[in-house]
Point group: D3
Chain length 138, copies 6
């Protein structure tokens, strides 16, 4: 059940086909998930979104692929995005995240979630030492 019907034959649209072909080449699989199939109702939005996801998540960069997926999972959990948590946890595992690394990721997300709530509850003032303009930070 979704809020938008995916197009019946998305790849009949040349820009959608180009995006799906690029995705298949980069991810080395024929599978295109429901997010992209549904987003194809608007080829322009699909194309712009894929261009950005590809640039940030699929291109070689300073951070390794597993680290990038772990950061993505952390945001998706805090934002309670069911689909994203599923798809990016699967992606992290496919890229090599072990059970032990996943347990450590969960521990960090958990302690961050916890201390986020405590600091927000206490409304602690930000120490001047954290100011990037002046600080020898800690």
């Amino acid at each position: 059940m979704s809020t938008q019907r995916p197009p019946q034959d998305p790849e009949s649209h040349p820009r959608v086909k180009a995006v799906f072909d690029d995705m298949r080449a980069i991810r080395q699989t024929d599978f295109v998930n429901s997010f992209w199939r549904t987003l194809a109702f608007d080829p322009d939005l699909l194309e712009r979104t894929w261009t950005e996801v590809k640039q940030v998540m699929a291109m070689p960069s300073l951070l390794d692929p597993v680290t990038k997926e772990m950061i993505f999972i952390a945001v998706s959990v805090a934002n309670a995005c069911t689909f994203c948590v599923h798809s990016h946890t699967a992606a992290a595992k496919a890229k090599g995240m072990t059970d032990a690394q996943y347990a450590e990721l969960l521990s960090i997300i958990a302690v961050a979630g916890k201390t986020n709530q405590l600091a927000t509850a206490l409304q602690v003032p930000v120490d001047a030492v954290f100011n990037a303009d002046t600080a020898a930070p800690r």
Copy 2:
């Protein structure tokens, strides 16, 4: 301005002093930030919170210290915790996060925040291939 007055002389309480001493030794600085100084109003809560933060964030583990701080920042941003974003961005930089790594972290947080909203708006059903019970995941 905070919601709870920090104790005037927190280290007169032996359990608070023990926590602050441990923190100073591990972080190799005399500075104790406002979060811990305020939390000291309840020595038990302070002690339990520090024990967990220390265990997850300060002990050697599978993930390197900068990666751990980047994950912590990602959660704190999504939870809009002002103090935590400040303190953990400063911590990540103190542990060696470069401007280029920080820019990449921001790019991942941004694209995750964006696609989280899109997937939640579309209410895309989770593909069966993402199911950890059965999947050869992607």
Copy 3:
């Protein structure tokens, strides 16, 4: 599956029946969705909630009905409310939102979600020019 059993025969309660009748008349359909059927376990809470939803969303006002639904969707997406995203996207479409308008709504929600995260990560100070007390704003 829900956390509260909906009453078996909600309209046997006169205040529930009055709310459902009003809803049917205003929405010009016999259908009453699961949210209202479940909320009927407490006729007072049902009545107060419907009164407010009706006043804000169903009465003629400055903003047109599709715009109002789009704003409602935007909040519901950011709050990750599955039921609300579904029911209000369907409502917006029933009131005339086109696929092209929906794609634009998604684009705005996406870029807002993205820049929200960036601004929160950077903890950018609010420029004085934005202060409503003094500003010729930009």
Copy 4:
């Protein structure tokens, strides 16, 4: 106080200067706010972010400028982004949002926030009629 020091002389970097010049031309003001000045620490991230914000928010489109800003405000409020709420409320007012329209926007955000919580608390199942694949929606 921010987490990242803005560059001292951002416009000495040609790509930053190009973005700021484009922004000034489109917004018809010399003022560049702190968000963009801070993001300039990474010219690539600045450029990509501005390109998207410009495309979605500043180019003529189906939705009028005030409606677009109201949707942006709605997301920013739900995500608790202080800077974004300030800057986009000021922008909406600069583009013509009246006090009466703003009061209606607040009423919609408020009732959405409220019913979001109620529906999430009740975990109401989504009615089949809302399914975009099959529905004559309500």
Copy 5:
């Protein structure tokens, strides 16, 4: 700094004056906080909001006043509402919440925040036993 200028002389408007008088009588203080003073820019929105806050929070009910404030604080912390966290923590203390009760409240908010993240990360399916329609719940 706020997004909306509070009216200069709010009580010159009879409906605003009536709300403020009612608030002063119920709260037994002359002080009217900035939230209400700012909301007075729209007397109708002010009146409707106060009516609801008064009905839920200030009238005698099943739950005692401190418990009600603690629940309000819990929601406000999770929603990262700075003003609300401040005003309702102060209110809870004024109504008798002790430091020990506050520490316990913080502990519950913290463990909930933590396990919320874990359960969302794991995407654990909801056990049938929790279904209110059928359950002998646990």
Copy 6:
């Protein structure tokens, strides 16, 4: 469907068995829910999480068990944690929360969610009287 396969025979691990046995004794039921069964993939994370949940939620304390569950529900709703909302609403009912108390809890969560959004939208400055360092609070 979950992101992590629960171990096939979790209680073959002695630390998992010890946690499950402790849980059964304290909760006086043989049932162990899916959250704990899945978390058992990492016995250390399971043990630490249970120790904290037990300490905060299951041990006698200043707040009564139903109040504690109501606060837990409030946080879980605001964080949109489906599993947590289900499990803790069921727990609250099992511990004696009546329909009338639940309706009042929902009313408080709803009005908090609503005024959270209003205060965040208005970016109301925090009144000095709320400062815990100086205040005779209201």
